[in-house]
Symmetry: D4
């Protein structure tokens, strides 16, 4: 039942064409969404409030292309994550102005310029160079969601001076995203230096007992620094999304 | 080396009493903290930016009392977490105006009224009644950090209507803290209903394969809703702290 | 908004006192539950469709007593699980006709006789004698939910003839609940002998690598017999509840 | 020893050709199955009571073909699970009327029409689109076992309105199969909305700490909704089989 | 149906009193066990082939006493494992000639002298002194099952010379039981020195990452020495039983 | 220092050419092995007492060939395990009389006929057909070590009659090897039917929570039947070796 | 066979009283230890090279007292770890000059002054105050083994300035022991600041997903700083021992 | 701010050009590193104190080549670990005098001869031949860091005499690196024979429950021999680095 149907029913009540009992019976079983929550109906897992993100893994180029065309027709900006390079190449034939980030396997297409809505700077930090793909996914997500984003890469705790050297940039940030694999210690150190929310992202970087990011995840959950919260392993998109919500408070 | 020592050194340089070489040698090995970061020197794990929190577990009443007196003398508000009831009783003899929350084992003492600095409401939600102790720790923490806090308890996903019934309150909140044990599904549902950051707190409620909160933790890390980040099991303080930082952006 | 409020609104629309726009605005944000889903409002985790079950763990005798009195006043039958003996003794002073099962720590009070609604027999089977507490919780639950329940205890796979000896009873059952600890093999053997749904319940019986029931749980999930589904470790209540739902199909 | 042999032995006893001692000796060691449990002799792991299912993984096309021919000659319907597309193509050359489902990698061949024996509708639900392969395996299995099956896909908890919108279909079902990966929360929500048995199937959908379906499995075992039982990860066949047994009670 | 009933039925067939159809109907559903497998009917988990063992954990002194009296009346030797000292004291009032081993919490009562049936010596070895309780349980079990048992304690791998010093005794043994906690390395070294079967028993001795015996168990399962098989953590009884079966081959 | 050197030293002492001090100095640091333990020097991990087994994984065909030639030259029988088919083909060009078992990836070459030393029959049992590769590795190993080996495949617990049907063969065996994946229940049932040692071998057969054989392993370690010991996952060779040692007692 | 026996044998060979064959037979089976490795015979697990350490857990005061007296009589210094306070009190009645450290539950008795053998300073560092018991066990061990030991407590990574402030002491140390619980990040930061070996000790400090020290252990094993090696959780003794061996190189 | 800038500032203070307040403001925010810690700025994870090591995994040949050229230009020796053979071949075209070790996938290039700085011999030991790649990585690392390195391969505990045979070499070593997979017992035995620090390296050698080296790791952490510390699975580089730091004490 959409808005017009509801209006019609009420008019029929008003005009005496429908009895109150009849109207009540219909309204009781009223599908919640039909009251105008059209946008909710389009909500999808991993896309809430940011309807244009497409999870590229497990979809064919054709499937993605068809979604992109529909999106473009409604004027939405498009973000595709976990997109293999071969698929990206195929998609860019149709969407020539799209931009593909091979390290993070992200593709972005702008139907319209992004309007900056975030209040401060989101700073994306990595412990090593191998964490950059995850960080880039976070950075691109946050940019497309209307934030000013800066990056600070390869400042892991084994060379603590590299990090301290950049303390001004740490303190200037509004929200910080910290990506680290191996022992996952960087968010604790960063969290101890700033007074802002830190989103910690464990990366699957490492070998042996790094267990594909589990060690880093556990370390981050046990951070002795306050003001640190954690997302899933390699979930750059989730960190970028969370930071964007925070930056709009 | 504190401010006065630095000033003294510079004066001696200015007055020619100290050579430039001598001054440089001293400055090179200058302890960073001595330049006036006195508050940093007082930083402790779990207390950063919120110097008055005391982790009550493993400390005697006397040890805690001595810390409290020192804090009171400097006019700080005091928060003690994980404090057993017998210890609380002892402490309240000296601090009669302090308030003890037996469910969450938290004690609060106000040296001065809290100044509300948070922008919006922090809403603390639980799936069941057994999650309330963790939620209360979060709520008390956030209040003491200057936020307006509201609670919404016992709205777990097996009776989804209880939650939907409160949707206006969900949507009115600035930051949401969601505590759940067992299958830990509530943050996903809440995260799908609001467009605000959700801090998910796994609680150790459950039995068998709940594994003391691990199942809830894993579920929260894998939330299909965006805008959800997670803290350690039963870490109500950490969630309240994180939400407070966010609410000040 | 309850039924009367809705009726009132419609009357006001009909009478021209409320405009259609005004009515639509109110109806759009209509709390779903207020349309008469009162019973849903009483839904609670672990109690759905069976409103009178109380989880005894972590509640004081007084808290339980107060819930029981309220239930009795509405004529409901009462089931309390995980109730320590000392609490049971206190409760039975007020509810003298209640029955306490010390092995399974279950207390039952009949406000009215149970009406048998189940179609066939629910057969509760255990591998050993130490599994009986869990089995009894399942049996009492299923009885109170209106089923004929039979028990077959101590027929573990290391003495397979004990089980085969009872094959007629196995085949006569409508639904089977099989409780086993240690290697958890019994549901596979039972599942291979009958053509009926088997609810497997891992028990925490065992030592060393039984890991408090995890080994039995894993074995049951990997059953090579079809028609076996599993509930949480020691979850006799859940198995009895599930079997009751099945037995009413 | 089959029926005829037994009959022959008894006749020889009756006619005095065999002594009672001789007969007793033969009967004592009588293979249980030989008393007419011919169908039992054909029981195989994963095929009980549903003799025509073939586990396709690890078998060559030729091996499968030979089993199919034997089955067809006895007039049985055939179900092959976990069958790679290349093998399916080979098999369909010989069994042209067979139907292959590439998403779920299931092949079905009807030697005779399926007779509907299930009492009500089995509703197969998924949280996301990537869970559909597992759901389809369940649906095809249940159909071939004589049930009316309906599907409701992509109604995960992060967009709870999609699910609530379909509440009538949920309530109309006799048995519900719910497939979910990631945080595995959907069975809890569905279990809270219906009063029918829910078979929960964890799928291996997700990344990082989804651990190939373990997180979803744990969440489902800890469901706060009653009336939920769980099968192995990705075990669509098992869920369909279990639901079929239930639907015949 | 016992032997006499079967004989009676056959006689009735022979005499024409029972038709062949009637006889076949009865024989088809013939309970397997009734054909004279009386001893099987008495089999119980953890007691097979050795009917007099009683698992003491979770049984009251009275329950155990009643089982002991029944056993004594049939002239059986009695072995009780995992028996707390207080219970043992109570039992020894009635069974004065019984012997209690406080370290291993085992009680033995001889109704008749043990007949030595084992072929060679069973040698029970421990890595440290804290492993002795488990070893003693194994030794007492094997003795009561009719074996000559010797002990070699505290010869762990960190002082390899202690073990090599005893090589003659190692080589003289028929079966070896090796108990070790911590890193569980001893069975590998022993297995490399002898040409006889080694039963490895992980003990729960250790702390931190010994995980209550799991580390020792894993090490033993991965022994690079051939001829090593493993039983559950702390399962001295199981090792003694297995060694006894081997020693009778 | 070999026998001759020792003899020479003693002669020099006797003849006065070496002083007692000098001899003592040499003897104190005497390499233990040099006193004639030549065969020990050739011991290698996984080869003890059975020097001719070669672990094929990770070795090139050339490396294996060179070892085989050396073995052949000393008249030893040869067993190669975990040998890929392509390597086997290469080896068989040089060793034409060798036999390759593609299912278990084992290659055997007889330099001389095997002398049967085992006392009774070793019976190798599997739960399903997919367990046969592991069983075959055990069977071939035991045969080459001088045992009479029989096989009983595909008698898993979901069709318990298949197993009971073969009880005579079970009871006739001297040692039993039982291979099972999935829930790993078969050794418990077999262990309850016989009075002989059972070597349980978990296989990596299964999916989802079978965890590559861990579930079967745990179930076997927790067997409620006595007389069961366990080897590593898929370790057919180890089981065959252990059974051979037992069969020679 | 000790030195004198060997000398005697050689003399008998020399004097012709023993034939060379006879001597060779005796020497072949010569117990290795009897050649004078008396100290080896006294080796015990956890005591190697440091014979006077006693593991206090699981020993009675009387047992410990008896060992202490024997040690004192041979003039050894004594170290007892994991000793409960009540036992310590009993022991100190007999050994009045012994010193008990209640935090680390260590008791030390000097039969003679410790001779300092270590080359440089061993610096023991902790992340928090709750790590001090483990650190103290390490420090006392290292002191008794002849090292100069210094302590630097409560310098965790969330307040990095505290650590940097002490850099001179870090750089002055010869070996560093770093104890940390929770996220276990401190060894990585320390390892990045010094050019000396770091022994990392995970402590069981923390809650929830700290898993009793496992998270800290994993973090330390994955340290991105080189020159870090790890010992078992809470193994202060092991760290002190290892550091002592290193400090003597 | 580098040295010259600081000097300039002080000169301006001296000359009265800068006020003391101005100088203090600049000095307070002085970047720590700029005071001359240039070498620290070049610190990188996994490279500390040994700047020329390159982690080859995940880098292209071109990336590595560019780093190598820069290093060569500054006269540094170069170590590349985890380098695939195909990349090595490409690199050796430009660096002809470099040496590639295919087993350990390590490449070394000498810009200048290594100066031996280590005090004693570092002995690298393996349990089996499959552990050699890890051992070789350790050996090459230690050599390049200026140590005399010896190797002792294939002396696993199942043939303990091989190890004892080499005791003199064990005792002659200054530091020992012990690599073992499977049950990881070798470091315990070695640690019991020597009085020197042992670095234990778990290797991922094994199958089934070896869990890719976790079993060996756990065994090593639980070593009953003192003086053993552990590095990550397969971390030959880390062991060689740690041993080198120790050997310079």
């Amino acid at each position: 039942m959409d808005i017009r149907k509801l209006e019609h029913l009420l008019k029929r009540v008003k005009g005496g064409e429908a009895s109150i009992e009849e109207a009540m019976a219909q309204l009781k079983s009223l599908p919640f969404e039909d009251l105008g929550f059209a946008k909710i109906d389009h909500h999808r897992c991993l896309r809430k409030g940011f309807p244009e993100v497409i999870w590229g893994e497990g979809k064919t180029s054709d499937q993605i292309l068809s979604i992109m065309k529909q999106m473009k027709s409604t004027g939405q900006n498009i973000l595709i994550t976990r997109l293999e390079e071969t698929k990206a190449r195929a998609l860019r034939k149709a969407f020539r102005k799209s931009q593909y980030y091979p390290r993070s396997r992200v593709l972005v297409y702008h139907s319209h310029p992004v309007k900056e809505e975030g209040k401060g700077t989101i700073l994306v930090i990595t412990a090593g160079t191998t964490d950059i793909p995850v960080a880039e996914e976070a950075a691109v997500t946050a940019q497309l969601m209307g934030n000013h984003v800066e990056a600070l890469y390869d400042v892991g705790v084994a060379g603590i001076h590299r990090l301290l050297h950049e303390r001004k940039r740490l303190e200037a940030a509004s929200v910080l995203i910290v990506v680290a694999g191996m022992e996952g210690a960087l968010p604790s150190v960063v969290g101890g230096l700033v007074n802002r929310p830190v989103i910690a992202v464990p990366s699957s970087v490492g070998y042996g007992t790094s267990f594909g990011g589990i060690t880093a995840l556990l370390a981050m959950l046990n951070s002795c620094a306050s003001g640190v919260a954690v997302v899933n392993i390699d979930n750059g998109f989730g960190a970028g999304y969370m930071a964007s919500l925070i930056n709009r408070i």
